[in-house]
């Protein structure tokens, strides 16, 4: 029972990360019907920007709450700019192009960022402890770590913020309109390009937050961390129903929990295969995902 509870806590924490990244995939897919393969790399860049910010501002040596907040917000701002730049330079010129071409471009951007990251940042780096870590043991064998609580807390507040933006603001309404029908939205005078740009910024901000949380907890960051992380988050988005915001959250937590349960009870070497297995089953049984809209291909 304690093993189960322990894995459940680990899974919630891991799932929060997947959910944050998955939100970026699902929002972009909602507006552009594009799998933004570069999203995982935006997440990776977020981790490194946070690291360099922490070094330059001296937060590494004397951590403080404003300092940590500065690092987090700085990484978020940088990633927002990066996401908007990618969209502007690589995806917007291809708006009228076939989906295969845009997809290949997205893969190209992803590879470019990953390999530039390898050249600029080196193959591996260590993220210092800038957030104090403690842990409690309420039951024998059950450990609750402060990092897990921080991860869940930050994730939940970001999700509430996102919900507010999407449901209550003018821009959020425009986003929903564009994802419903881009052409109709354009005819109603919605500045579609600006809405898409905003969507990329929003997704990238969440990815940067996820990157910060992972770096803070795991301390090891690599230029290729976005490849597998991004792919699994994408699986989470598909599982929940791509294009659906609550779906991405649900999918993220489900994937995180099933991964930790499998590695806790079975073998951790098969951990990476779980996500792909889930993906394949979902796509074959219910391609629109758990909460997705079913669409029919028309001429």
């Amino acid at each position: 029972m304690t093993v189960f509870l322990q894995q459940l806590i680990n899974g919630l924490s891991l799932g929060a990360i997947y959910a944050l990244i998955a939100l970026g995939y699902t929002m972009v897919y909602g507006t552009l019907q594009l799998i933004n393969f570069a999203h995982g790399e935006v997440y990776m860049v977020g981790a490194f920007v946070a690291l360099y910010l922490a070094r330059w501002t001296g937060v590494v040596d004397n951590p403080s709450i404003p300092g940590v907040a500065l690092v987090l917000l700085g990484a978020m701002a940088f990633c927002a700019a990066l996401g908007m730049t990618i969209e502007r330079l690589a995806y917007r010129p291809l708006r009228k192009s076939t989906r295969l071409n845009i997809l290949i471009t997205a893969i190209g951007v992803s590879l470019l960022l990953q390999n530039l990251g390898l050249l600029l940042f080196g193959p591996i780096d260590t993220f210092p402890t800038i957030v104090p870590e403690t842990q409690w043991e309420p039951m024998v064998g059950l450990v609750i770590r402060s990092n897990d609580l921080i991860t869940l807390g930050v994730t939940l507040s970001l999700m509430l913020g996102l919900r507010h933006i999407v449901e209550k603001t003018q821009m959020g309404r425009a986003m929903r309109a564009v994802s419903h029908s881009r052409d109709t939205a354009a005819m109603m005078g919605i500045p579609v390009d600006r809405v898409i740009s905003f969507t990329f910024a929003l997704g990238s901000v969440l990815a940067a937050a996820a990157a910060f949380l992972v770096a803070m907890d795991k301390h090891v960051i690599k230029p290729d961390m976005g490849a597998m992380g991004g792919l699994k988050a994408f699986v989470a988005a598909v599982l929940g129903g791509i294009g659906s915001i609550p779906g991405a959250v649900l999918g993220g937590f489900m994937l995180g929990i099933s991964e930790t349960l499998v590695s806790g009870y079975l073998a951790s070497t098969y951990r990476d295969a779980i996500a792909f297995g889930i993906l394949i089953i979902v796509l074959l049984v219910r391609p629109s995902g758990l909460l997705g809209r079913h669409t029919v291909e028309k001429v």
Partner: protein
């Protein structure tokens, strides 16, 4: 029709004779390094041709072709190492094993299209690698070592020629035209009562077969193989080659494969920038010339004065 068939088989015989003549009379006096680059070019050309059938001619985005190469490489390697099967026969069997893999992957996933198919094939690639990494009999993460080094210049280019003639004949057959029609407008083809899933699965299985052969050749190239050789990066590399060469062209991707395999050898000092260069070229290409270098034309079109009928 008959004339073109005779030309095809004539070219096959002449080609085989030329390849083995070079193998016996030129290669022994050629630099070992140069030969090994030539062999690697040949293998990559074969793998790219296999993907070109799926991606270029049938329009199905497979991001997991390295997975089929892995099946081919590991099954032929296993047969040669533990069962004493002659390497080139093992390669052929490896090709069939990859084809079965292609059928298993293709049957369920080809109901999906576009981006979903890309991700599912990517997922299968990942699963194949994870399974190999966890299988002791296949050497797990360390890989398989002590394989016979049987991949010679002659054999590599024999397989490449066989694959090329096969693909050329397939594309010119009614079956090949059906594949291209599926690529151009799947709904229209389906409305003519053609089972498009079946057509796509066929292309997928054939593409997997030739990828498996390429994998077998890799297995017997350097006496060892490891799962990392067949990862996602390899699949992307193949996609890049097909896309740069031109989707819907046979010679375009082959040229791209040759150039992109040879380039890092020529530019050794900047080898670390290879992937940066690839990805950058890929993006620029998509923005500037999305149909690839050759589009759907062939090398031979550039030399023949006769205007070809569109699409042939």
């Amino acid at each position: 029709m008959l004339r073109s068939a005779i030309v095809g088989y004539g070219a096959l015989v002449v080609g085989l004779a030329a390849i083995w003549a070079v193998h016996y009379f030129v290669i022994p006096w050629t630099d070992v390094y140069f030969t090994s680059v030539a062999i690697r070019i040949g293998i990559n050309m074969l793998a790219v041709m296999a993907l070109s059938l799926v991606l270029g001619f049938t329009g199905q985005f497979s991001l997991g072709h390295a997975g089929f190469m892995a099946i081919g490489a590991y099954s032929s390697g296993y047969l040669a190492l533990h069962m004493g099967v002659p390497p080139m026969l093992a390669t052929l069997i490896g090709g069939f094993a990859a084809a079965i893999g292609g059928l298993t992957v293709g049957l369920p996933s080809l109901r999906l299209s576009g981006d979903y198919l890309a991700v599912v094939t990517l997922g299968f690639n990942g699963i194949i690698i994870v399974v190999i990494q966890n299988t002791k009999a296949l050497g797990a993460a360390l890989g398989m070592i002590g394989l016979p080094q049987a991949t010679s210049f002659g054999w590599t280019f024999t397989w490449l020629l066989l694959g090329g003639v096969f693909l050329r004949n397939l594309i010119r057959s009614p079956h090949g035209r059906m594949l291209m029609a599926v690529r151009d407008n799947e709904i229209a083809v389906r409305s003519l009562g053609i089972d498009t899933t079946r057509a796509k699965v066929t292309a997928f299985v054939l593409g997997a077969f030739w990828a498996g052969i390429a994998g077998g050749l890799i297995a017997f190239l350097n006496a060892s193989i490891s799962p990392a050789q067949f990862s996602y990066d390899r699949s992307i590399e193949l996609v890049a080659m097909v896309v740069l060469g031109g989707t819907g062209s046979m010679s375009g991707p082959l040229i791209a494969a040759a150039v992109l395999t040879a380039l890092p050898e020529v530019l050794r000092p900047i080898a670390q920038y290879r992937m940066v260069l690839y990805s950058f070229v890929l993006i620029v290409m998509m923005l500037a010339r999305p149909q690839g270098l050759m589009g759907s034309r062939e090398l031979i079109d550039l030399f023949s004065r006769r205007k070809k009928v569109a699409g042939v």
